[in-house]
Symmetry: C2
Subunit: 319 residues, 2 copies
Protein backbone atom coordinates (compact mmCIF):
# COMPACT_ATOMS: atom_id res chain seq x y z
CA UNK A 1 0.00 0.00 0.00
CA UNK A 2 1.41 3.38 -0.97
CA UNK A 3 0.23 6.95 -0.90
CA UNK A 4 -1.33 8.32 -4.06
CA UNK A 5 0.93 11.33 -3.54
CA UNK A 6 4.39 10.39 -4.81
CA UNK A 7 7.18 10.78 -2.28
CA UNK A 8 8.85 13.67 -4.09
CA UNK A 9 5.61 15.69 -3.78
CA UNK A 10 4.95 14.92 -0.14
CA UNK A 11 5.33 17.96 2.07
CA UNK A 12 4.72 19.13 5.62
CA UNK A 13 0.96 19.25 5.95
CA UNK A 14 -1.16 22.11 7.16
CA UNK A 15 -4.30 20.18 6.15
CA UNK A 16 -5.18 16.62 7.10
CA UNK A 17 -6.34 13.72 4.98
CA UNK A 18 -9.90 12.59 5.54
CA UNK A 19 -9.00 9.08 6.66
CA UNK A 20 -6.85 7.79 9.49
CA UNK A 21 -3.37 6.43 8.78
CA UNK A 22 -4.57 2.85 9.23
CA UNK A 23 -7.36 3.22 6.65
CA UNK A 24 -7.49 0.21 4.33
CA UNK A 25 -9.55 0.57 1.14
CA UNK A 26 -11.92 -2.31 0.41
CA UNK A 27 -10.63 -2.93 -3.13
CA UNK A 28 -7.49 -1.99 -5.09
CA UNK A 29 -6.97 1.10 -7.21
CA UNK A 30 -3.94 2.65 -8.88
CA UNK A 31 -2.64 6.03 -10.01
CA UNK A 32 -0.38 7.20 -12.82
CA UNK A 33 3.22 7.97 -11.85
CA UNK A 34 5.38 10.46 -13.71
CA UNK A 35 9.12 10.60 -13.26
CA UNK A 36 10.10 13.30 -10.75
CA UNK A 37 11.56 15.32 -13.64
CA UNK A 38 8.05 16.10 -14.91
CA UNK A 39 6.98 19.41 -13.39
CA UNK A 40 3.76 19.99 -15.31
CA UNK A 41 1.64 18.49 -18.05
CA UNK A 42 -0.55 19.89 -20.77
CA UNK A 43 -4.08 18.57 -21.33
CA UNK A 44 -5.50 19.96 -24.58
CA UNK A 45 -8.95 19.45 -26.09
CA UNK A 46 -9.32 20.54 -29.73
CA UNK A 47 -12.94 20.57 -30.82
CA UNK A 48 -14.82 20.78 -34.08
CA UNK A 49 -18.51 21.53 -33.92
CA UNK A 50 -21.06 21.09 -36.70
CA UNK A 51 -24.79 20.64 -36.99
CA UNK A 52 -25.76 17.20 -35.71
CA UNK A 53 -26.93 16.39 -32.21
CA UNK A 54 -25.67 17.82 -28.94
CA UNK A 55 -28.00 19.60 -26.50
CA UNK A 56 -28.23 22.46 -29.01
CA UNK A 57 -28.40 20.24 -32.08
CA UNK A 58 -24.67 20.03 -32.79
CA UNK A 59 -22.06 17.32 -33.01
CA UNK A 60 -18.73 17.88 -31.30
CA UNK A 61 -15.65 15.96 -32.35
CA UNK A 62 -12.80 16.47 -29.94
CA UNK A 63 -9.16 15.49 -30.27
CA UNK A 64 -7.45 15.21 -26.91
CA UNK A 65 -3.70 15.40 -26.51
CA UNK A 66 -1.28 15.47 -23.60
CA UNK A 67 2.29 16.73 -23.22
CA UNK A 68 4.75 16.57 -20.36
CA UNK A 69 7.16 19.11 -21.80
CA UNK A 70 5.80 22.66 -21.72
CA UNK A 71 8.52 23.98 -23.99
CA UNK A 72 7.73 21.55 -26.76
CA UNK A 73 4.02 22.17 -26.39
CA UNK A 74 4.49 25.94 -26.58
CA UNK A 75 6.68 25.66 -29.67
CA UNK A 76 4.03 23.55 -31.38
CA UNK A 77 0.93 25.30 -30.10
CA UNK A 78 1.41 28.73 -31.65
CA UNK A 79 0.98 27.37 -35.14
CA UNK A 80 -1.59 24.77 -34.19
CA UNK A 81 -3.75 27.39 -32.55
CA UNK A 82 -3.63 29.61 -35.61
CA UNK A 83 -4.61 26.67 -37.80
CA UNK A 84 -7.44 25.69 -35.46
CA UNK A 85 -9.10 28.95 -34.50
CA UNK A 86 -7.23 31.51 -36.59
CA UNK A 87 -8.46 33.53 -39.53
CA UNK A 88 -7.99 30.65 -41.96
CA UNK A 89 -10.29 28.32 -40.06
CA UNK A 90 -13.13 26.88 -42.13
CA UNK A 91 -16.44 28.70 -42.19
CA UNK A 92 -19.60 27.02 -41.05
CA UNK A 93 -17.79 24.79 -38.62
CA UNK A 94 -17.21 25.75 -35.00
CA UNK A 95 -13.79 25.29 -33.45
CA UNK A 96 -12.62 25.34 -29.90
CA UNK A 97 -9.49 24.84 -27.88
CA UNK A 98 -9.57 24.07 -24.18
CA UNK A 99 -6.20 23.66 -22.50
CA UNK A 100 -5.03 23.12 -18.95
CA UNK A 101 -1.35 23.02 -18.12
CA UNK A 102 -1.27 22.07 -14.45
CA UNK A 103 1.75 21.61 -12.29
CA UNK A 104 1.93 18.03 -11.08
CA UNK A 105 0.82 19.15 -7.61
CA UNK A 106 -2.54 20.06 -9.12
CA UNK A 107 -4.01 16.87 -10.48
CA UNK A 108 -4.66 13.28 -9.62
CA UNK A 109 -5.66 10.10 -11.42
CA UNK A 110 -7.39 6.88 -10.41
CA UNK A 111 -7.63 3.54 -12.20
CA UNK A 112 -9.61 0.45 -11.26
CA UNK A 113 -7.16 -1.83 -13.07
CA UNK A 114 -3.74 -1.93 -14.66
CA UNK A 115 -2.68 -2.63 -18.21
CA UNK A 116 -4.58 -0.07 -20.24
CA UNK A 117 -3.68 3.53 -19.37
CA UNK A 118 -6.00 6.31 -20.51
CA UNK A 119 -5.72 10.06 -20.58
CA UNK A 120 -2.71 11.59 -18.91
CA UNK A 121 -1.64 8.15 -17.73
CA UNK A 122 -0.65 7.26 -21.29
CA UNK A 123 2.07 9.85 -20.89
CA UNK A 124 3.17 8.71 -17.45
CA UNK A 125 6.28 6.71 -16.69
CA UNK A 126 4.13 3.94 -15.22
CA UNK A 127 1.51 3.07 -12.67
CA UNK A 128 1.62 2.88 -8.89
CA UNK A 129 0.98 -0.13 -6.75
CA UNK A 130 -2.24 -0.17 -4.72
CA UNK A 131 -2.84 3.28 -3.25
CA UNK A 132 -4.47 4.12 0.03
CA UNK A 133 -6.47 7.26 -0.75
CA UNK A 134 -9.52 5.95 -2.56
CA UNK A 135 -12.97 4.40 -1.99
CA UNK A 136 -14.06 7.17 0.36
CA UNK A 137 -15.59 10.61 -0.23
CA UNK A 138 -12.69 13.01 -0.14
CA UNK A 139 -10.20 10.60 -1.68
CA UNK A 140 -10.13 12.69 -4.86
CA UNK A 141 -8.99 15.73 -2.90
CA UNK A 142 -6.57 13.72 -0.80
CA UNK A 143 -4.85 12.39 -3.92
CA UNK A 144 -4.08 15.90 -5.19
CA UNK A 145 -0.68 16.84 -3.75
CA UNK A 146 -1.66 20.49 -3.29
CA UNK A 147 -4.39 19.40 -0.84
CA UNK A 148 -1.65 18.89 1.74
CA UNK A 149 -1.43 22.63 2.20
CA UNK A 150 -4.20 24.35 0.24
CA UNK A 151 -8.02 24.33 0.29
CA UNK A 152 -8.07 25.13 -3.45
CA UNK A 153 -10.91 27.62 -3.15
CA UNK A 154 -11.99 29.31 -6.38
CA UNK A 155 -11.25 32.97 -6.92
CA UNK A 156 -13.28 35.30 -9.11
CA UNK A 157 -15.84 34.90 -11.87
CA UNK A 158 -15.34 33.80 -15.47
CA UNK A 159 -15.27 36.58 -18.06
CA UNK A 160 -14.89 36.70 -21.80
CA UNK A 161 -12.43 38.44 -24.05
CA UNK A 162 -13.43 39.00 -27.68
CA UNK A 163 -10.66 38.80 -30.25
CA UNK A 164 -12.31 39.37 -33.59
CA UNK A 165 -14.53 36.37 -34.22
CA UNK A 166 -12.80 34.40 -31.49
CA UNK A 167 -14.03 34.40 -27.95
CA UNK A 168 -11.70 33.53 -25.12
CA UNK A 169 -12.95 32.69 -21.65
CA UNK A 170 -10.79 33.76 -18.75
CA UNK A 171 -11.97 31.61 -15.91
CA UNK A 172 -10.55 31.88 -12.41
CA UNK A 173 -8.12 30.37 -10.00
CA UNK A 174 -8.76 26.76 -9.01
CA UNK A 175 -11.13 25.92 -11.83
CA UNK A 176 -11.65 22.16 -11.81
CA UNK A 177 -11.73 19.65 -14.67
CA UNK A 178 -12.70 16.01 -14.40
CA UNK A 179 -12.40 13.42 -17.13
CA UNK A 180 -14.07 10.24 -15.91
CA UNK A 181 -14.10 7.25 -18.20
CA UNK A 182 -15.32 3.71 -18.62
CA UNK A 183 -14.15 0.97 -20.97
CA UNK A 184 -16.46 -2.01 -21.46
CA UNK A 185 -14.55 -3.55 -24.35
CA UNK A 186 -13.36 -6.51 -22.25
CA UNK A 187 -16.78 -7.37 -20.87
CA UNK A 188 -18.57 -10.50 -22.02
CA UNK A 189 -22.24 -11.10 -22.64
CA UNK A 190 -23.87 -10.92 -19.21
CA UNK A 191 -21.56 -8.26 -17.80
CA UNK A 192 -21.89 -6.16 -20.94
CA UNK A 193 -25.66 -6.37 -20.72
CA UNK A 194 -25.55 -5.36 -17.07
CA UNK A 195 -23.36 -2.36 -17.87
CA UNK A 196 -25.41 -1.25 -20.86
CA UNK A 197 -28.83 -1.89 -19.31
CA UNK A 198 -28.33 -1.03 -15.64
CA UNK A 199 -25.41 1.38 -15.38
CA UNK A 200 -25.08 3.31 -18.62
CA UNK A 201 -28.63 4.77 -18.65
CA UNK A 202 -28.16 6.06 -15.10
CA UNK A 203 -24.77 7.49 -16.03
CA UNK A 204 -26.25 9.16 -19.09
CA UNK A 205 -29.03 10.70 -17.01
CA UNK A 206 -26.45 12.23 -14.69
CA UNK A 207 -24.35 13.45 -17.63
CA UNK A 208 -27.43 15.06 -19.19
CA UNK A 209 -28.26 16.75 -15.91
CA UNK A 210 -24.79 18.25 -15.66
CA UNK A 211 -24.89 19.35 -19.29
CA UNK A 212 -28.33 20.96 -19.11
CA UNK A 213 -28.77 21.99 -15.49
CA UNK A 214 -25.32 21.97 -13.95
CA UNK A 215 -24.62 25.68 -13.68
CA UNK A 216 -26.57 26.31 -10.43
CA UNK A 217 -24.51 23.64 -8.66
CA UNK A 218 -21.20 24.86 -10.05
CA UNK A 219 -20.82 22.67 -13.14
CA UNK A 220 -20.08 25.05 -15.99
CA UNK A 221 -20.18 22.42 -18.71
CA UNK A 222 -20.26 18.70 -19.30
CA UNK A 223 -19.58 16.55 -22.33
CA UNK A 224 -20.42 12.86 -22.29
CA UNK A 225 -18.02 11.67 -25.00
CA UNK A 226 -17.73 8.42 -26.91
CA UNK A 227 -14.17 7.51 -27.90
CA UNK A 228 -13.67 6.84 -31.62
CA UNK A 229 -10.73 5.06 -33.18
CA UNK A 230 -8.34 6.43 -35.81
CA UNK A 231 -10.90 5.67 -38.51
CA UNK A 232 -13.70 7.43 -36.67
CA UNK A 233 -15.45 4.22 -35.62
CA UNK A 234 -17.06 4.04 -32.18
CA UNK A 235 -15.10 2.10 -29.60
CA UNK A 236 -16.47 0.66 -26.38
CA UNK A 237 -15.04 3.49 -24.31
CA UNK A 238 -16.71 6.66 -23.12
CA UNK A 239 -15.99 9.45 -20.72
CA UNK A 240 -17.58 12.45 -19.14
CA UNK A 241 -15.56 15.65 -19.26
CA UNK A 242 -16.81 18.48 -17.10
CA UNK A 243 -15.66 21.90 -15.98
CA UNK A 244 -16.43 22.98 -12.43
CA UNK A 245 -16.25 26.18 -10.43
CA UNK A 246 -14.32 24.31 -7.77
CA UNK A 247 -13.27 20.92 -6.57
CA UNK A 248 -15.71 21.45 -3.68
CA UNK A 249 -18.63 21.85 -6.10
CA UNK A 250 -17.63 18.59 -7.82
CA UNK A 251 -17.37 16.90 -4.43
CA UNK A 252 -20.85 18.04 -3.42
CA UNK A 253 -22.45 16.78 -6.63
CA UNK A 254 -20.67 13.45 -6.45
CA UNK A 255 -21.53 12.88 -2.82
CA UNK A 256 -25.08 14.00 -2.50
CA UNK A 257 -26.84 14.99 -5.69
CA UNK A 258 -29.60 12.51 -6.58
CA UNK A 259 -28.24 12.08 -10.12
CA UNK A 260 -24.82 10.99 -8.90
CA UNK A 261 -26.17 9.06 -5.92
CA UNK A 262 -28.01 6.96 -8.49
CA UNK A 263 -24.86 6.53 -10.59
CA UNK A 264 -22.94 5.54 -7.50
CA UNK A 265 -25.67 3.15 -6.40
CA UNK A 266 -25.83 1.52 -9.83
CA UNK A 267 -22.05 1.16 -9.95
CA UNK A 268 -21.92 -0.23 -6.41
CA UNK A 269 -24.58 -2.80 -7.23
CA UNK A 270 -22.79 -3.76 -10.43
CA UNK A 271 -19.39 -4.10 -8.80
CA UNK A 272 -20.67 -5.89 -5.72
CA UNK A 273 -22.55 -8.35 -7.94
CA UNK A 274 -19.52 -9.11 -10.08
CA UNK A 275 -16.73 -8.64 -7.55
CA UNK A 276 -13.15 -9.03 -8.80
CA UNK A 277 -14.46 -10.81 -11.90
CA UNK A 278 -15.72 -7.48 -13.33
CA UNK A 279 -14.06 -6.67 -16.64
CA UNK A 280 -15.32 -3.11 -16.80
CA UNK A 281 -12.43 -0.66 -16.54
CA UNK A 282 -12.93 2.69 -14.81
CA UNK A 283 -10.61 5.64 -14.52
CA UNK A 284 -10.61 9.35 -14.00
CA UNK A 285 -8.30 12.35 -13.86
CA UNK A 286 -9.08 15.50 -11.90
CA UNK A 287 -7.24 18.80 -12.18
CA UNK A 288 -7.53 21.98 -10.15
CA UNK A 289 -5.86 24.57 -12.34
CA UNK A 290 -4.31 27.87 -11.32
CA UNK A 291 -5.56 30.94 -13.17
CA UNK A 292 -2.45 31.03 -15.38
CA UNK A 293 -2.74 27.36 -16.31
CA UNK A 294 -5.88 27.73 -18.43
CA UNK A 295 -6.73 28.62 -22.03
CA UNK A 296 -10.19 28.59 -23.60
CA UNK A 297 -10.85 29.80 -27.12
CA UNK A 298 -14.03 29.41 -29.20
CA UNK A 299 -14.67 30.30 -32.83
CA UNK A 300 -18.10 30.04 -34.39
CA UNK A 301 -19.46 27.80 -31.63
CA UNK A 302 -22.93 27.99 -30.14
CA UNK A 303 -23.20 29.83 -26.88
CA UNK A 304 -23.56 26.76 -24.69
CA UNK A 305 -20.28 25.25 -25.86
CA UNK A 306 -17.84 24.36 -23.11
CA UNK A 307 -16.76 27.26 -20.94
CA UNK A 308 -18.87 29.71 -22.94
CA UNK A 309 -21.70 28.46 -20.78
CA UNK A 310 -19.93 29.86 -17.71
CA UNK A 311 -20.48 33.41 -18.91
CA UNK A 312 -23.50 35.34 -20.11
CA UNK A 313 -22.49 36.15 -23.64
CA UNK A 314 -25.20 38.74 -24.20
CA UNK A 315 -24.21 40.73 -21.14
CA UNK A 316 -20.46 40.45 -21.56
CA UNK A 317 -18.49 43.51 -22.62
CA UNK A 318 -16.37 43.18 -25.72
CA UNK A 319 -12.68 43.71 -25.14
CA UNK B 1 -27.04 30.32 9.02
CA UNK B 2 -24.93 29.46 12.05
CA UNK B 3 -22.21 26.98 12.88
CA UNK B 4 -23.27 23.75 14.52
CA UNK B 5 -20.44 24.39 16.97
CA UNK B 6 -21.69 26.91 19.53
CA UNK B 7 -19.57 30.02 19.87
CA UNK B 8 -18.35 29.21 23.38
CA UNK B 9 -16.85 25.95 22.06
CA UNK B 10 -15.20 27.43 18.97
CA UNK B 11 -11.44 27.38 19.20
CA UNK B 12 -8.33 28.00 17.11
CA UNK B 13 -8.32 25.19 14.57
CA UNK B 14 -5.52 22.80 13.76
CA UNK B 15 -7.90 20.79 11.56
CA UNK B 16 -10.12 22.12 8.79
CA UNK B 17 -13.79 21.56 8.09
CA UNK B 18 -14.60 19.55 4.97
CA UNK B 19 -16.54 22.32 3.25
CA UNK B 20 -15.58 25.85 2.24
CA UNK B 21 -16.81 28.81 4.26
CA UNK B 22 -19.38 29.68 1.60
CA UNK B 23 -20.95 26.20 1.65
CA UNK B 24 -24.74 26.39 1.66
CA UNK B 25 -26.64 23.21 2.56
CA UNK B 26 -29.51 22.31 0.23
CA UNK B 27 -32.12 21.99 3.00
CA UNK B 28 -32.38 23.10 6.63
CA UNK B 29 -31.28 21.17 9.70
CA UNK B 30 -30.89 22.06 13.35
CA UNK B 31 -28.88 21.06 16.42
CA UNK B 32 -29.58 21.00 20.14
CA UNK B 33 -28.09 23.87 22.16
CA UNK B 34 -27.15 23.59 25.81
CA UNK B 35 -26.45 26.62 27.96
CA UNK B 36 -22.71 27.31 28.22
CA UNK B 37 -22.86 26.23 31.88
CA UNK B 38 -23.33 22.60 30.81
CA UNK B 39 -19.91 20.99 30.67
CA UNK B 40 -20.91 17.38 30.11
CA UNK B 41 -23.95 15.15 29.84
CA UNK B 42 -24.74 11.59 30.80
CA UNK B 43 -26.40 9.21 28.34
CA UNK B 44 -27.48 6.02 30.13
CA UNK B 45 -29.08 2.89 28.68
CA UNK B 46 -30.56 0.47 31.25
CA UNK B 47 -31.52 -2.83 29.68
CA UNK B 48 -33.54 -5.86 30.65
CA UNK B 49 -33.14 -8.99 28.55
CA UNK B 50 -35.40 -12.02 28.51
CA UNK B 51 -36.22 -14.86 26.15
CA UNK B 52 -38.15 -13.50 23.21
CA UNK B 53 -36.67 -12.46 19.89
CA UNK B 54 -33.41 -10.61 19.25
CA UNK B 55 -30.67 -12.12 17.05
CA UNK B 56 -30.06 -14.69 19.77
CA UNK B 57 -33.72 -15.24 20.62
CA UNK B 58 -34.06 -12.57 23.31
CA UNK B 59 -36.10 -9.43 23.86
CA UNK B 60 -34.33 -6.33 25.12
CA UNK B 61 -36.25 -3.56 26.85
CA UNK B 62 -34.11 -0.50 27.36
CA UNK B 63 -34.80 2.60 29.42
CA UNK B 64 -32.78 5.58 28.24
CA UNK B 65 -32.08 8.56 30.44
CA UNK B 66 -30.02 11.73 30.16
CA UNK B 67 -28.51 14.08 32.74
CA UNK B 68 -26.65 17.36 32.41
CA UNK B 69 -25.37 17.43 35.99
CA UNK B 70 -22.69 14.82 36.66
CA UNK B 71 -22.86 15.31 40.42
CA UNK B 72 -26.56 14.53 40.59
CA UNK B 73 -26.13 11.53 38.29
CA UNK B 74 -23.29 10.12 40.39
CA UNK B 75 -25.27 10.53 43.59
CA UNK B 76 -28.19 8.66 42.06
CA UNK B 77 -26.29 6.07 40.09
CA UNK B 78 -24.55 4.20 42.91
CA UNK B 79 -27.83 2.91 44.26
CA UNK B 80 -29.47 2.51 40.88
CA UNK B 81 -26.56 0.40 39.63
CA UNK B 82 -26.74 -1.88 42.66
CA UNK B 83 -30.47 -2.32 42.11
CA UNK B 84 -30.02 -3.01 38.40
CA UNK B 85 -26.99 -5.30 38.20
CA UNK B 86 -26.17 -5.95 41.87
CA UNK B 87 -26.54 -9.11 43.89
CA UNK B 88 -30.26 -8.57 44.44
CA UNK B 89 -31.07 -8.45 40.70
CA UNK B 90 -33.71 -10.94 39.59
CA UNK B 91 -32.60 -14.35 38.36
CA UNK B 92 -33.40 -15.52 34.87
CA UNK B 93 -33.48 -12.02 33.47
CA UNK B 94 -30.43 -10.34 31.97
CA UNK B 95 -29.56 -6.80 32.94
CA UNK B 96 -27.20 -4.30 31.43
CA UNK B 97 -26.08 -0.73 31.90
CA UNK B 98 -24.35 1.23 29.17
CA UNK B 99 -23.36 4.77 30.04
CA UNK B 100 -21.45 7.53 28.30
CA UNK B 101 -20.70 10.79 30.04
CA UNK B 102 -19.14 12.94 27.34
CA UNK B 103 -17.90 16.47 27.68
CA UNK B 104 -19.91 18.75 25.41
CA UNK B 105 -16.94 18.96 23.00
CA UNK B 106 -17.44 15.28 22.26
CA UNK B 107 -20.88 14.94 20.75
CA UNK B 108 -23.18 16.43 18.19
CA UNK B 109 -26.85 16.26 17.25
CA UNK B 110 -28.83 16.82 14.07
CA UNK B 111 -32.57 17.31 13.54
CA UNK B 112 -34.53 17.57 10.31
CA UNK B 113 -37.24 19.67 11.98
CA UNK B 114 -38.05 21.64 15.11
CA UNK B 115 -40.74 21.14 17.69
CA UNK B 116 -40.17 17.63 18.92
CA UNK B 117 -36.78 17.12 20.58
CA UNK B 118 -35.54 13.56 21.08
CA UNK B 119 -32.63 12.07 23.01
CA UNK B 120 -30.17 14.48 24.53
CA UNK B 121 -32.03 17.39 22.90
CA UNK B 122 -34.88 16.92 25.38
CA UNK B 123 -32.41 18.06 28.01
CA UNK B 124 -31.04 20.97 26.01
CA UNK B 125 -31.86 24.60 26.58
CA UNK B 126 -33.26 24.84 23.06
CA UNK B 127 -32.53 24.38 19.39
CA UNK B 128 -30.29 26.25 16.99
CA UNK B 129 -31.31 28.06 13.86
CA UNK B 130 -30.31 26.51 10.54
CA UNK B 131 -26.78 25.19 10.78
CA UNK B 132 -24.19 25.03 8.05
CA UNK B 133 -22.40 21.74 8.71
CA UNK B 134 -24.79 19.14 7.34
CA UNK B 135 -25.89 17.44 4.11
CA UNK B 136 -22.36 16.41 3.20
CA UNK B 137 -20.20 13.44 4.15
CA UNK B 138 -18.06 14.64 7.02
CA UNK B 139 -20.70 16.95 8.48
CA UNK B 140 -21.08 14.64 11.47
CA UNK B 141 -17.40 15.04 12.32
CA UNK B 142 -17.46 18.76 11.60
CA UNK B 143 -20.31 19.28 14.06
CA UNK B 144 -18.33 17.73 16.94
CA UNK B 145 -16.43 20.59 18.58
CA UNK B 146 -13.39 18.42 19.31
CA UNK B 147 -12.90 17.90 15.57
CA UNK B 148 -11.47 21.41 15.42
CA UNK B 149 -8.26 20.12 16.97
CA UNK B 150 -8.38 16.33 17.22
CA UNK B 151 -8.67 13.41 14.78
CA UNK B 152 -10.39 11.32 17.48
CA UNK B 153 -8.50 8.16 16.62
CA UNK B 154 -9.30 5.11 18.73
CA UNK B 155 -6.76 3.79 21.21
CA UNK B 156 -6.48 0.21 22.37
CA UNK B 157 -8.72 -2.85 22.31
CA UNK B 158 -11.79 -3.61 24.41
CA UNK B 159 -11.26 -5.99 27.33
CA UNK B 160 -13.50 -7.43 30.01
CA UNK B 161 -13.37 -7.34 33.78
CA UNK B 162 -15.28 -10.01 35.69
CA UNK B 163 -16.83 -8.95 38.98
CA UNK B 164 -18.61 -11.99 40.31
CA UNK B 165 -21.50 -12.64 37.96
CA UNK B 166 -21.18 -9.19 36.42
CA UNK B 167 -19.06 -8.54 33.40
CA UNK B 168 -17.78 -5.07 32.68
CA UNK B 169 -16.36 -4.08 29.33
CA UNK B 170 -13.53 -1.57 29.34
CA UNK B 171 -13.51 -0.25 25.82
CA UNK B 172 -11.00 2.33 24.62
CA UNK B 173 -10.45 5.99 23.95
CA UNK B 174 -12.68 7.53 21.28
CA UNK B 175 -15.28 4.80 21.20
CA UNK B 176 -18.22 6.08 19.17
CA UNK B 177 -21.97 5.84 19.80
CA UNK B 178 -24.70 6.82 17.38
CA UNK B 179 -28.39 6.99 18.12
CA UNK B 180 -30.21 7.66 14.87
CA UNK B 181 -33.98 7.94 14.93
CA UNK B 182 -37.07 8.37 12.84
CA UNK B 183 -40.57 9.44 13.82
CA UNK B 184 -43.36 8.75 11.35
CA UNK B 185 -46.23 9.61 13.68
CA UNK B 186 -47.10 12.80 11.77
CA UNK B 187 -47.16 11.16 8.34
CA UNK B 188 -50.44 10.64 6.54
CA UNK B 189 -51.58 7.80 4.34
CA UNK B 190 -49.42 8.02 1.23
CA UNK B 191 -46.29 9.26 3.00
CA UNK B 192 -46.67 6.64 5.73
CA UNK B 193 -47.00 3.92 3.11
CA UNK B 194 -43.91 5.21 1.33
CA UNK B 195 -41.91 5.21 4.56
CA UNK B 196 -43.08 1.77 5.68
CA UNK B 197 -42.88 0.12 2.25
CA UNK B 198 -39.88 1.78 0.62
CA UNK B 199 -37.62 3.08 3.38
CA UNK B 200 -38.14 1.00 6.51
CA UNK B 201 -37.31 -2.40 4.97
CA UNK B 202 -34.04 -1.01 3.59
CA UNK B 203 -33.24 0.57 6.94
CA UNK B 204 -33.99 -2.72 8.70
CA UNK B 205 -31.72 -4.61 6.34
CA UNK B 206 -28.87 -2.23 7.19
CA UNK B 207 -29.60 -2.49 10.91
CA UNK B 208 -29.58 -6.31 10.70
CA UNK B 209 -26.27 -6.20 8.84
CA UNK B 210 -24.68 -4.07 11.56
CA UNK B 211 -26.11 -6.29 14.28
CA UNK B 212 -25.03 -9.58 12.73
CA UNK B 213 -21.98 -8.74 10.62
CA UNK B 214 -20.77 -5.37 11.82
CA UNK B 215 -17.66 -6.36 13.78
CA UNK B 216 -15.29 -6.67 10.78
CA UNK B 217 -16.09 -3.09 9.75
CA UNK B 218 -15.77 -1.69 13.27
CA UNK B 219 -19.38 -1.84 14.47
CA UNK B 220 -19.26 -3.60 17.81
CA UNK B 221 -23.02 -3.76 18.28
CA UNK B 222 -26.28 -2.42 16.92
CA UNK B 223 -29.79 -2.32 18.30
CA UNK B 224 -32.69 -1.32 16.08
CA UNK B 225 -35.12 -0.15 18.77
CA UNK B 226 -38.81 0.66 18.68
CA UNK B 227 -39.87 3.35 21.14
CA UNK B 228 -42.69 2.36 23.51
CA UNK B 229 -44.82 4.71 25.58
CA UNK B 230 -45.22 4.73 29.35
CA UNK B 231 -47.72 1.89 29.09
CA UNK B 232 -45.41 -0.21 26.96
CA UNK B 233 -47.35 0.34 23.74
CA UNK B 234 -45.47 0.72 20.47
CA UNK B 235 -45.19 4.28 19.20
CA UNK B 236 -44.39 5.32 15.65
CA UNK B 237 -40.78 6.11 16.52
CA UNK B 238 -37.72 3.92 16.14
CA UNK B 239 -34.00 4.35 16.33
CA UNK B 240 -30.80 2.51 15.68
CA UNK B 241 -28.25 2.58 18.47
CA UNK B 242 -24.79 1.34 17.62
CA UNK B 243 -21.36 1.20 19.16
CA UNK B 244 -18.34 1.75 16.92
CA UNK B 245 -14.61 1.36 17.21
CA UNK B 246 -14.23 4.89 15.90
CA UNK B 247 -16.02 7.77 14.27
CA UNK B 248 -13.98 6.96 11.15
CA UNK B 249 -15.42 3.43 11.01
CA UNK B 250 -18.94 4.85 11.27
CA UNK B 251 -18.11 7.35 8.53
CA UNK B 252 -16.85 4.62 6.21
CA UNK B 253 -19.97 2.48 6.66
CA UNK B 254 -22.29 5.42 6.17
CA UNK B 255 -20.53 6.66 3.07
CA UNK B 256 -19.74 3.56 1.13
CA UNK B 257 -21.09 0.31 2.48
CA UNK B 258 -23.78 -1.12 0.19
CA UNK B 259 -26.23 -1.47 3.08
CA UNK B 260 -26.05 2.20 3.97
CA UNK B 261 -25.78 3.37 0.38
CA UNK B 262 -29.16 1.70 -0.11
CA UNK B 263 -30.58 3.38 3.00
CA UNK B 264 -29.25 6.71 1.82
CA UNK B 265 -30.63 6.15 -1.67
CA UNK B 266 -34.06 5.21 -0.33
CA UNK B 267 -34.12 8.23 1.97
CA UNK B 268 -32.96 10.56 -0.83
CA UNK B 269 -35.67 9.27 -3.14
CA UNK B 270 -38.29 9.64 -0.41
CA UNK B 271 -37.27 13.16 0.53
CA UNK B 272 -36.81 14.35 -3.03
CA UNK B 273 -40.27 12.99 -3.92
CA UNK B 274 -41.96 14.71 -0.99
CA UNK B 275 -39.79 17.81 -0.62
CA UNK B 276 -40.60 20.17 2.24
CA UNK B 277 -44.03 18.53 2.58
CA UNK B 278 -42.44 15.46 4.20
CA UNK B 279 -43.76 14.87 7.70
CA UNK B 280 -41.21 12.24 8.62
CA UNK B 281 -38.91 13.51 11.37
CA UNK B 282 -35.27 12.42 11.47
CA UNK B 283 -32.62 13.02 14.08
CA UNK B 284 -29.42 11.60 15.44
CA UNK B 285 -26.85 12.11 18.15
CA UNK B 286 -23.24 10.99 17.84
CA UNK B 287 -20.72 10.82 20.66
CA UNK B 288 -17.00 10.10 20.64
CA UNK B 289 -16.24 9.24 24.24
CA UNK B 290 -12.92 9.44 26.06
CA UNK B 291 -11.81 6.26 27.83
CA UNK B 292 -12.89 7.62 31.22
CA UNK B 293 -16.34 8.60 29.96
CA UNK B 294 -17.63 5.05 29.50
CA UNK B 295 -19.25 2.38 31.65
CA UNK B 296 -20.53 -1.01 30.45
CA UNK B 297 -21.84 -3.66 32.81
CA UNK B 298 -23.70 -6.89 31.96
CA UNK B 299 -25.33 -9.42 34.26
CA UNK B 300 -26.79 -12.65 32.96
CA UNK B 301 -26.92 -11.46 29.35
CA UNK B 302 -26.10 -13.56 26.30
CA UNK B 303 -22.64 -13.12 24.90
CA UNK B 304 -23.66 -11.02 21.91
CA UNK B 305 -25.32 -8.35 24.01
CA UNK B 306 -24.09 -4.81 23.42
CA UNK B 307 -20.39 -4.29 24.01
CA UNK B 308 -19.92 -7.91 25.07
CA UNK B 309 -19.76 -8.56 21.35
CA UNK B 310 -16.62 -6.43 21.15
CA UNK B 311 -14.65 -8.98 23.16
CA UNK B 312 -14.13 -12.71 22.88
CA UNK B 313 -15.65 -13.90 26.12
CA UNK B 314 -14.24 -17.41 25.90
CA UNK B 315 -10.69 -16.17 25.48
CA UNK B 316 -10.89 -13.36 27.99
CA UNK B 317 -9.00 -13.70 31.29
CA UNK B 318 -11.03 -13.34 34.45
CA UNK B 319 -9.98 -10.45 36.62
Amino acid sequence: MESAIPSHLQTARSRHRRVPDDYAPPYPSFVARHTPAVASVIMAYFGVQYRGVDQAGFTNVVSVAYWDDAGRFDAWFAGAREAWTGSGAANGVGRFIEVLRPHVERYETLFSSLGRPEGVAVLADGMSGEVQEHAYWGGMRDRIPLSQTDAMTPGGEPRIVRDGARIRVVAHDNLCLIRSGQDWSDTEASERKMYLDDVEPVLREGMDFLRDDGVPIGCYANRYMRVVDADGRLTEKSYGQSWWKSLAALERWAESHPTHVRIFGAAMKYLSTLGPAAKLRLYHEVTVAAADEQFFEYLGCHERTGMLKAVQLAAAPSA
